[in-house]
């Protein structure tokens, strides 16, 4: 009987300590995202963003504002550029990429190449 009583006491103490330690750790780990928050803020102001969770800004270009004849086309292009930049950097959804300018360049590829490429892309979709 004494043995059983002792065994239950140790069990109770042991389980309590294990749970208390790990609950305390759980609470502390829940606060860890605050580290990122402060870091994000400071990196915005200090560095202008050079890491995963910072903004990537492309310098503003006058052409962006001047070349605004087709707004819907520009919006699609900006979305495409943002997606491409994000995918290229292998980043996740918490990365902020802001396209602030782009410049259209003259069409140099032969028209048959362009058609062939678009067909190839269509087949892959």
């Amino acid at each position: 009987m004494e043995t059983l009583k002792f065994a239950f006491t140790i069990t109770l103490i042991g389980i309590t300590i294990v749970f208390l330690s790990l609950i305390a750790l759980c609470v502390l780990m829940s606060l860890f995202p605050l580290l990122n928050y402060e870091w994000k803020k400071s990196s915005d102001t200090d560095k202008g963003g050079s890491d995963d969770s910072s903004y990537l800004e492309i310098e503003e270009d006058d052409d962006f504002h001047n070349d605004s004849s087709d707004n819907s086309s520009n919006s699609s292009l900006i979305a495409l550029l943002t997606a491409a930049a994000t995918a290229y950097m292998g980043s996740s959804s918490d990365v902020k990429v802001r396209v602030t300018s782009f410049k259209r360049i003259p069409q140099t590829s032969p028209v048959w190449n362009t058609v062939g490429r678009s067909e190839y892309i269509s087949n892959k979709l």
Binding site: T3, L4, F6, A7, F8, I10, T11, I13, G14, I15, I17, V18, F19, L20, S21, L22, I23, A24, L25, C26, V27, L28, M29, S30, F32, P33, L35, N36, W39, D52, S53, S92, D94
Partner: protein
């Protein structure tokens, strides 16, 4: 001349292991061969089982006298280092690392350097599953006491439920060094048998609907969080439970090497060369303690049985706590990740994934299961600290 020749030959034969060996030695040699088979042909935890089996073979070769247990178990209870230096053999020297509790923390250093705590950090609540899985340790402790084992031996047997080899060896070397062989072999054997032991228990305590639960995407953990984690854990756990400091401290040091990114050479050494060397020393010296006198008795059978019970109970309590989390979160947690709360990294997390994908082939809970799996390493180290604090 002929007489001399016959006398010398007779002398050599009389000293050979075939003559001076007892039947128990040959049984132990047979058992070590079975372990060779399991390690090599079946690949059951070969990294440790192979050196353990060879250590067992060496120590049971009659007449070889590679290991002298009497040098370590003295009347005063203290190790006589001078005596070991004067009369000890190779395995005696290697065993000093186990006796003084050096090897298991160094193994933890390597494990820390190999472990990514990201899945745990992205879902902190999963650490509770690692705590729940330690309940099996304490239930087994009660059973072992009721079966007549001393408190120290009962504690050492119970820690098998933590499914963490180095932790089991560390606790046993401190509390019940005579039992080191059977306990270490039981611990590693059951760890290797995770894919066979756990699934029936997991299915017994969960419904198909629960097993099909799909869990959401884990958030990305920043480098800053990963660096802060080992420092915070070390401060918190070691202040709270100093007896857990050797294991937790080394585990977290290894992880800090990895995550800091500034000591790549040290990190690679810890996770490769160092852990490999220590694994050889640890395996050989632990195997050497499995002498015929220590191993071939009724207690070993009880240890094997209780070890299995500890492991099964830890799995069951983890799954049951997973069920509680399933209902508490409105069905967002798959209870199968609870079984990964026993350490056995990453095998038990893989088993969780396998059972989940049997229920729902499109379900991927591996990374979710890695959280409790890693938490189990910390949890078993804390449980070991509790037992050492009480019984050492």
């Amino acid at each position: 001349m002929l007489n001399d020749f016959i006398n010398i030959i007779g002398d050599i034969i009389s000293k050979s292991g075939f003559v001076i060996g007892e039947y128990r030695h040959f049984i132990m040699i047979f058992i070590s061969c079975v372990l060779f088979y399991l390690a090599i042909a079946k690949e059951y935890e070969p990294l440790l089982l192979l050196p353990i089996a060879f250590g067992m073979l060496l120590t049971n070769l009659p007449g070889a006298n590679l290991y002298h247990p009497e040098l370590f178990i003295t009347e005063s209870g203290k190790v006589d280092i001078i005596e070991i230096f004067n009369n000890g053999g190779l395995l005696d020297f290697l065993y000093l690392g186990v006796k003084f509790g050096v090897y298991p923390p160094l193994i933890f250093l390597g494990i820390g350097a190999m472990t990514d705590f990201g899945p745990l950090l992205s879902n902190p609540k999963s650490i509770l599953l690692g705590a729940a899985s330690q309940i099996g340790i304490f239930i087994t402790f009660i059973c072992a006491l009721l079966l007549g084992f001393s408190q120290e031996v009962a504690a050492a047997i119970a820690i098998i439920g933590g499914a963490d080899g180095p932790t089991a060896i560390y606790v046993t070397s401190q509390l019940a060094p005579k039992m080191l062989g059977p306990i270490a072999i039981a611990a590693y054997s059951y760890m290797a048998l995770v894919p066979m032991i756990q699934p029936p228990i997991m299915k017994l305590f969960t419904t198909k609907k629960e097993r099909e639960t799909v869990m959401g995407q884990l958030r990305k953990v920043s480098k800053r969080e990963k660096i802060a984690f080992p420092i915070v854990v070390t401060i918190l756990i070691c202040l709270f439970l100093p007896d857990a400091a050797p294991l937790v401290g080394m585990l977290m040091l290894g992880n800090l090497f990895r995550e800091s990114g500034v000591v790549e050479r040290i990190s690679k050494t810890a996770e490769n060369e160092l852990i490999n060397i220590i694994t050889i020393f640890l395996g050989l010296s632990v195997g050497a303690t499995a002498t015929a006198e220590n191993f071939l008795n009724r207690q070993t059978l009880f240890i094997l049985f209780l070890g299995l019970a500890a492991f099964s109970l830890s799995t069951a309590t983890g799954v049951l706590f997973g069920k509680i989390m399933y209902y508490a979160t409105g069905g967002k947690v798959n209870p199968l990740i609870g079984s990964a709360g026993v350490s056995a990294v990453p095998m038990s997390a893989r088993v969780s994934q396998k059972v989940a994908s049997e229920a729902n082939p499109g379900n991927f809970i591996l990374m979710h299961a890695m959280g409790p799996n890693i938490a189990g390493v910390i949890g078993s180290a804390v449980a070991a600290g509790v037992l050492l604090a009480v019984f050492r």
